[in-house]
Each structure stands twice: as structure tokens, then as C-alpha cells.
């Protein structure tokens, strides 16, 4: 997955959870949960949404890597996953 594809996936999933947010102006280094006012249920829905759109099954131990937009993009482009962490759908 390319950087742009990853960003599109993340923005698409976040738009479903926080439809009022201005995702285009999101600081890539800002804490997503704080910036978008996501609670733990929202974050679970985000991980589930990423799974639905990409097939990635993100383990809980990798959640901290999804704290920012930049972190999410790095994770989805496969550079930042834990060994044996995310499982891709066959």
C-alpha cells in the first residue's frame, strides 16, 4: 500500500467515525484521539474499519503505533508493524 492509499483509507475510516472533523487539515503528528475526541469505542471502531477496508487485523499491542495520522500511514504501509503483529487477510 502506498502512502497516499494509506492516507485515503485512514481518512475514509475516520470520516465515518468523526464526520464533523476536518480531516484534510489534520496535523500528521497530532494525537488522533485527542484531536478528534475519539473515545475507546471510537478507536475500536477505527481499528475495525481499517480491518474492513484493508484486511489488516491490528493486535492490541500495536494500538500505540496508530496514535497519529503519520503513525497510521507508516503502519499501513507496512513499515512499523510488530513481528507477527498485524495479520493480513488472505
Amino acid at each position: 500500500m502506498t502512502h497516499d492509499e494509506a492516507r485515503r483509507v485512514i481518512e475514509r475510516v475516520l470520516a465515518r467515525i468523526a464526520p464533523e472533523a476536518d480531516l484534510g487539515g489534520l496535523d500528521p503528528r497530532a494525537d488522533l484521539r485527542e484531536t478528534l475526541d475519539l473515545d475507546s469505542m471510537d478507536f475500536l471502531n477505527f481499528v475495525v474499519g481499517v480491518h474492513a477496508d484493508t484486511g489488516l487485523d491490528v493486535p492490541e499491542s500495536d494500538y500505540p503505533k496508530l496514535a497519529t495520522l503519520a503513525g497510521c500511514i507508516a503502519y499501513l504501509t507496512a513499515g512499523e508493524r510488530s513481528p507477527g503483529g498485524a495479520r493480513e487477510r488472505a
Binding site: P19, M41, L44, N45, D57, P59
Partner: protein, 416 residues
Amino acid sequence: MPSLGADMEAGTLLEWRVAPGDSVHRGDIVALVDTDKAEIEVEIFCDGVIEALLVEPGRKVPVGTPLARLREPAAEAAQPAAPRAPAATPPAPPAQPIPETPRSAPPAPPPPTLRAPTPRAPTSPPASTRAGLRASPLARRIAAELGVDLTTVIGSGEGGAISREDVERAAAARAPAPSVTPAPAIAPAPPGAADRSAGMRRAIAAAMSRSKREIPHYYLATRVDLTAALRWLGAENARRPVTERLLSAALLLRAVAIALRETPELNGHWIDGAFRPSEAVHIGVAIALRQGGLIAPALHDADRKPLPRLMAELRDLVARARAGSLRSSELSDATITLTNLGDLGVEMVFGVIHPPQVAIVGFGRVREEPWAAEGMLDVRPVVGLTLAADHRVSDGHRGARFLTAIDRQLQSPETL
């Protein structure tokens, strides 16, 4: 128009989901109603055939106003649980307004605002009530706000004294009889986003002001070691697919539900000056809405559902609360409220009881703290747990036992 919370006085019928002649079954969604807080799907609580729709879409009518006439087949009227009889079963019993009783007929009585408004409506107040009117200042003020003529209200207090509850009953009961023409509109069209926000604040203000005015709160707080709970949850989630993972919020909710079995005086409603315990545990979950404000729909029978199901229902409830598709039963029969502000970083939350409930439980954030146990100092994940409860019903001793019971449940997460 069902009462969808202690703070609701009127609602706007947005649309009908049924038409005259339609057969309906208990639990069917029959209408969409707009309150100050949200759009709510109204369920019907018995089987029958819709005979007439009494309120047009777009009209705002007071709580208690009949919305439609329902014809119940005789066989069903006698045996509500029996299979539905043909609609044409003769002789047809008299039509009646859609009852506004809570779902699943829990043993405990519903909140006062849910009671069918008919019994006192046709009754003339006794002469003594009209002649020597006795009403509390609060009852007079509420009567003025609701436009209720006190001389038409039957007082239930000593010597016929009129209480606030009597006035509210009268306001609900003044709805027109089923045979009359549809109720006049109070205001057209549902509110827009700005009105919704203002209405939400008004509704919260009304309920919380009433709570602080009438309920003598007492507060308790403690800290709970979540080492065992989070360890179990981590292991459990590691083997679950992402779509079936559990949140600690569900575990906490389940622990509260189980602990309530030991302290029934915290689970129920304060109605007409007395506590009515509920055998069913319907936990109102405080959910912050993205556009501001909050709503606390009930997660039904939380003590009788296994954790995975509770988690799935919690997820569904939060999604529907934020999407504006809650059901009437979910807003009318919570027996206690749970609020969790842990995601926002606060250590503890001291809640305001939602009348007619008698308690609210609060959780703060989970944080690592130094924890001394058996002479050793350790660092453990700890959560702040609080209780605000109604001193008319319980005291600190029972409240403390309740918090201890929650703690005990969380030390054995595998049993939840």
C-alpha cells in the same frame, strides 16, 4: 406520546412507520419521534391492528397524548403471549390508545412518567379539592409551567394536598380521549441543529436541576486494582478477531450489573414517595454525543448477558445513540446509570442521579499507581470508582458494600 425520560414534556411526531390496517407485533417500530435530545424510534408493546393514526407528522404534542388507536384481537388481549389471532376475529374489543408501558414487563413498576395517563383523566376532582386548594409552591410553579389548572388536579397528599407528581400526572392525563380529533400542534416541524443543541441543554438542565432539588445525594469513592482484569482482557483479546474484541468498559459494566444483585436498593426507581426496586438490571449508559450533550440509553438485562454479548450490545447502543436511532424502550426504563469518563483523563467522576433512578456509578481513567499490598509496594493499573446514591433509599454502608462487590467481581474477571 411516550415519556422518554424524566425531563421530557412533549415530542414531535416525525413520521409514521405504520398505516391504518397494519398488523403490528410487540416490539415493532411504529413511529419516529423527535425529543429535545434525539430522534427516537417508538416501539409498540402489544400485538394488534392499527385502527387510526391520531397525530399528523410534524406536530408536537405533550407527553401522554394518544398517537394512534390500536385494536387488540380478543384472544391476544386475554393471552398477550399467544400467537396472533386473525385481525378480523369477532367481536372486536373497543379500540384503545397505544399503551406506553415499558418493554418486557419487568417486575418493577415503570417510572411515573411512563404510566398510562388514562386512569385519572375522566375523574372529576372531589369538591373539597376544588374548594380548599392545597398545593406546594413547587407544585404551583410546575403547574404554571405546564399550563395545568390546579383546580382540576387530584391531590394525593394529606388532606388532598397537591404534589409535583400530581401535577405531572394531570399534565400527562389531560391528553384527549382516543375518539377525539388529533391533538393540536404546539409547534411545527422538528428543530434544527442549533435548536437541537439548545433543547439538549434545556432537557439536561431540567432533569439535573430536579435531581439536585429533590434527591439527597451521598457520595462514595474508592480505587480498584485492575491488574487481574486487564491481564485477562489482554489475553482474551489476543485470541479474538478485531471485530469481536472486548473493551474494559464492557467488563466494568458487567461487574456493576452483577454487583447490583447484592444491593437491590440501588437498582430501581423512587416513585410517589417510595422506592420501587427492580429485579431487572437495565443499566443506563451515559454516552457523549459528538455534536455535544449526552444521552443515557439503557442496556437491558445487563446482569443476565454474557460479556461478549454485552460488548456487542454496548457497541451497537453507542453507534445508534450517535446516529440518532435509539428506541423508546431504551430511553424509558434504565434502573441505574453508569458514566465512564476515563477516556477523558479524569481520575473520578461524581455523578448526578437521573430521576427517578436512585444511583449513578462512575469510573475514571485507568492509570498506573503505586499500590501497597501484603507489605509490598508495586505499580498497578488502578481505576477510580465512585457512587452517588439517593439517601432516601440507601445509606453509605450499603453503598460501600456495593463498591466492594464491584471490586470483588473485577478481581475474578474470568467469571464475568
